[in-house]
């Protein structure tokens, strides 16, 4: 990025190139300046909105900083505190891992299932696609509130149906510490549309000949799914897994809206109730928000952010490493 010079116009060491007059140097400078100009929004953004804040937050993570006073260097104390004496950090960490471990695979399975359903009909599939996709666009805060109501243990329709079919003690959903995360998982499944569209494109991309070949060899439906569809979908599954894990660690809005709605607290003491019921919806990003922007422990919040960053990177790298065994790129693939 440092040396932005034009390499294209001068790179022609062929015989006939000699006949063409070399472009004057002024043209090269102009080309380079055009590149610089075009790239400038991103260069400025990268320096001031990403690189500087990253370095700065790494520095903050080794300090005690409350915004009112200057940052005070305390070495690794934030990190030591986090790992050894902060039960809330571990709770937030466990909750986040749980929702990723449960939510991401379920979303992929459900996404493939709904996409497969959409490949079935000869007519009308557009209408179905519209209906299936629509919820994924719903404003997360509004969707979360709607789900809190739909899954209300006393008068919500879901538990009424459950009671109607004879379930004795239907879950408390968002109001119970053991079931609140399931509510969020179901909310995620409701908004499966974006993943579904990607899987649908993947399914429609599978060459027909592969299925025909499988038919000739006498494969049944399950075998065709296992040995044709799944390998052909594997790049898309891989992509969805990586994105799901990255976004899973950043889950905020739905959990924030749902936990405030169920805590029934007033705005003033909302801080104490984030993650309710009983801390079951205290996710990593919620905890970071609480520490950094409600209690103004900016140093500690920065340390949390860097741990989050490192965990995300490790998870992504593990998925990428593991993927070599199961992701199949047609035609050799890249890398």
């Amino acid at each position: 990025m440092a040396a932005i010079t034009a390499s294209a116009p001068s790179a022609a060491p062929f015989a006939e190139a000699a006949a063409v007059p070399r472009r004057p140097r002024r043209r090269n400078v102009r080309y380079g300046l055009t590149v610089l100009l075009f790239m400038s929004p991103w260069i400025v953004g990268f320096l001031f909105l990403i690189l500087y804040p990253m370095v700065s937050s790494l520095y903050f993570s080794f300090t005690k900083y409350s915004l009112l006073e200057a940052p005070k260097w305390i070495g690794f104390q934030n990190y030591v505190l986090m790992f050894t004496r902060d039960p809330l950090f571990w709770q937030a960490f466990r909750n986040t891992i749980w929702i990723i471990a449960v939510g991401v695979p379920l979303r992929i399975v459900f996404g493939i299932f709904t996409a497969w359903l959409l490949t079935l009909p000869r007519s009308g599939s557009r209408t179905y696609r519209t209906l299936y996709f629509l919820p994924s666009m719903a404003t997360p805060a509004a969707a979360a509130l709607a789900f809190v109501l739909v899954f209300n243990p006393a008068f919500g329709p879901v538990n009424q149906i459950l009671r109607g079919i004879g379930v004795q003690d239907p879950p408390l959903w968002f109001y119970g510490p053991n079931s609140s995360k399931w509510g969020l998982v179901l909310l995620g499944l409701w908004g499966v549309g974006d993943a579904m569209i990607i899987f649908l494109a993947g399914l429609l991309d599978v060459p027909r000949q592969l299925y025909e070949a499988a038919d000739i060899e006498g494969a049944n439906g399950r075998q065709k799914f296992r040995f044709v569809t799944l390998p052909m979908l594997s790049p898309v599954i891989f992509f969805s897994t990586v994105i799901g894990v990255i976004y899973g660690f950043q889950l905020f809005t739905q959990a924030y809206a749902a936990s405030l709605a169920t805590s029934g607290s007033s705005v003033s003491d909302a801080a104490a109730n984030l993650g309710s019921p009983q801390g079951s919806m205290l996710f990593y990003s919620i905890y970071l928000y609480q520490q950094g922007f409600q209690d103004f422990r900016m140093g500690y919040a920065s340390a949390l952010a860097w741990v989050l960053f490192i965990i995300t990177m490790i998870c992504t790298l593990l998925i990428i490493r593991g993927s070599r065994r199961w992701v199949h790129y047609q035609g050799g693939g890249f890398k």
């Binding site: 055009t34 075009f38 905020f252 990003s285």
Partner: protein
Amino acid sequence: MTQGIAISSAAQIERRPVPPSVHRKRFLLTIARHAGLIAVAAIFIAPLIFVVLTSLMTNEQAVTPSFWPRPFQWSNFAEVFHRIPFLRYTWNTAQIALLSTLGVVLSCVPVAYALARMRWRGRQISFIVVLSTIMLPIQVTIVPLYVIWVRLGQIGHMTPLILPSFLGDAFSIFLLRQFFLTIPEELSDAARVDGATEFQIMTRVIVPLAKPAIAAVALFNFLYNWNDLFAPLLFLGENQKLWTLSLALTEFQQRHGTEWNLTMAASLMILIPVIILFFLAQRAFVEGVTLTGVKG
């Protein structure tokens, strides 16, 4: 090949009518498929219908197991406007979403153009840096960014929500670059021969051809900003006048938490513009999402 055989044999043999048993089986299969599809569609749409019905109930009825509004209390929607300045919040949200979208399109198109269609040293490494910032959790930069905006006195203003959009967005750059790469190089070369500058090639050749991708980027950004809660909560939390709809909704729910009919009426009014936008631009949405996954 198979077609050729089919044609030659069809000339000799009259097409055999489908036997009634096969016909019936096919018909039943079609019915079964549509039944499954409709059942799943019902699950997707049911929560929205429930929101609509609850938004029309009286406050007392909203917290009972009954399902059908009795009476239909249309005044709930007007009541929301009485309780909170809903129009002002809508205007704030629209302003932020539209200006951010404008910023992203204006800043990302040239960057993507330089990355996809110009040749220069350091291009590859720049692209890798762009890609890696897509995966960067916003939390890593949010504390210092907050501090910067505090120093600049912009907390409680829209600036922190709009200005960064004019400095590029990694995901949008990536998406546009992927699309720009698919446009044949000959088109650019022809324009170059005619003496067009790179800027002219970008605005007159590439941009018109990349309309679907630009539309998708614009829609994603509009929707993201319309729906976002985290950034408005952080940067506008203190200034009620500039609240966005999402932010206002969570606060509304806090204050009028037991009045589910009003909360749902407010939720519905936030969802409706999104739904309208979706129906207007469904193709661009679906194509855009596909672009992210298949080429990613």
